[in-house]
Amino acid sequence: MDKLFDFGLTGQLLAQPFVQTALLAAAVLGLVAGMLGPLIVTRRMSFAVHGTAELAFTGAAGALLLGIGVEYGALAGSVIAALLLGLLGGRESDRDSVIGVILSFGLGLGVLLLTFYPGRTSNKFGILIGQIVSIDSTNIVVLIAAAVVVLLVLAVIYRPLLFSSVDPHVAAARGVPSRLLSVVFAVLVGIATALGVQIVGSLLVVSLMVTPAAAAVRVTASPWRATLLAVLFAEIAALGGIILSLAPGVPVSAFVTAISFLIYLVCRLIAYRRSRASRISAPDVARVPSAVGR
């Protein structure tokens, strides 16, 4: 761990093309994860993200075995997961258990596929905990293209999606097609998850897709500001995680998760101090506007 502060080594590694590709990939992922995150949190989809990521692992394992690009396998796995969850988990009461069922089956299947894979174990491990150095120039083109598609579709459906997420009854009354939007959004989350799997691995994707947004909504109630903060937090975690991991040579995900968790703790602390301050100045909290969200 003493290598953590070896800035010379970090500097040398930063000059490497493969590290720069990795940073670009992380920046793209941070942007996508931050844009989707607040909606994921509002729609209570954290567990769904985790489930989708496990199926991305299954897909990646299958792709590894077949000798095709891991990124395509991850993409196929998570989009299938998103559609499955969309079709089977239509009722909120069913959703939790459906995710659990699909997640465990997918993970088991992935383990089975990996045991048949004759290649190096580090490849296998990489899908689970991330292996950013494996991203090459073809990967990055696919990654950027996928990110652009996700962001464009999100831009088109953003308003009605926000409406049906935060105010489902009135949105339905205004004719917003909530069911269709849920499925489309699940697929967007699936694509983003597949991108995340290549960087932080399927076990820890939640740290980029959910934690930054969960931190952001603690400190602001404005949907726009929450999205901006979530992007900022996700970028700090993703880029910071890679840079810190360079010198010690540990998996990226360890630092990414640590940074995003730290940001989350700080945001909770800010929210706690604010609510205490408003309680002291105004005993009747319900009547008096609180400072949050200004």
Binding site: H169, A171, A172, A173, R174, S182
Partner: protein, 266 residues
Amino acid sequence: MSAAVEISGASLAFGGRTLWSGLDLTVQPGEFLAILGPNGSGKTSLLKILLGLQQLSAGSWRMASDRPVGYVPQQRAMQEALALRGVDLVGLGLDGHRWGLGLFGLAERRRRVAAAIESVGAQAYAKSPVGRLSGGEQQRLRVAQALIGEPDVLLCDEPLASLDLAHQRAVSALIDRRRREADTAVLFVTHELNPVLSYVDRVLYLVDGRFRIGTPDEVMNSKTLSELYRTKVEVIRVGGQIHVVGTQSALCEDEAHHLGVEERVS
């Protein structure tokens, strides 16, 4: 003056059960119509039809205005940590159903949201998270959300349920003021007539497929309600309020009404 809402020969059936049939109803601009009846009598379904979310089994309906209707739902608990402020909630009433990000005309949008919030007197808490507001504050914002599109028809589905008396008065006064100032027709589903009694022009009372339409005096009397319920019902007037005694089980309904929102998919 042409009617704001015109329903003729309308009937609604689910499976084999007919909720109501032969309904002819005309609501004039600026009229306040209260829709009463026990659970399952098809009050909320009538609103759903006017919102275009459900089809009549027979008959037809039309609205004079092609502007979108306003809709005020029942107050519901919101997540305390929901990333949404009052201004956002009201703004979604203006353009939340449109595609795209809505980046054009932001200044005009802000002006309209501010005007709507001012009209219900919610400036003080409009920028607070909605999940932390009281039910009455939320319902004021709901009225602003419904009125920001300047609707000619306002559909209210139990907007006063679970509010305390002071807020019931405030919210119904806001709705009444709107229909007087802008000639908006109000269709107001409620299980409690008294909070709005002084505003109501006519009552539509639905029971088991039967219904009566008329002024509160014409409908809310022992004879008419006994006929509707087909059992002895006593209507007593005390201090300007109406109390219905008799079919307690049929009249006392505290259950929430739902607009049949499809649950979200992950």
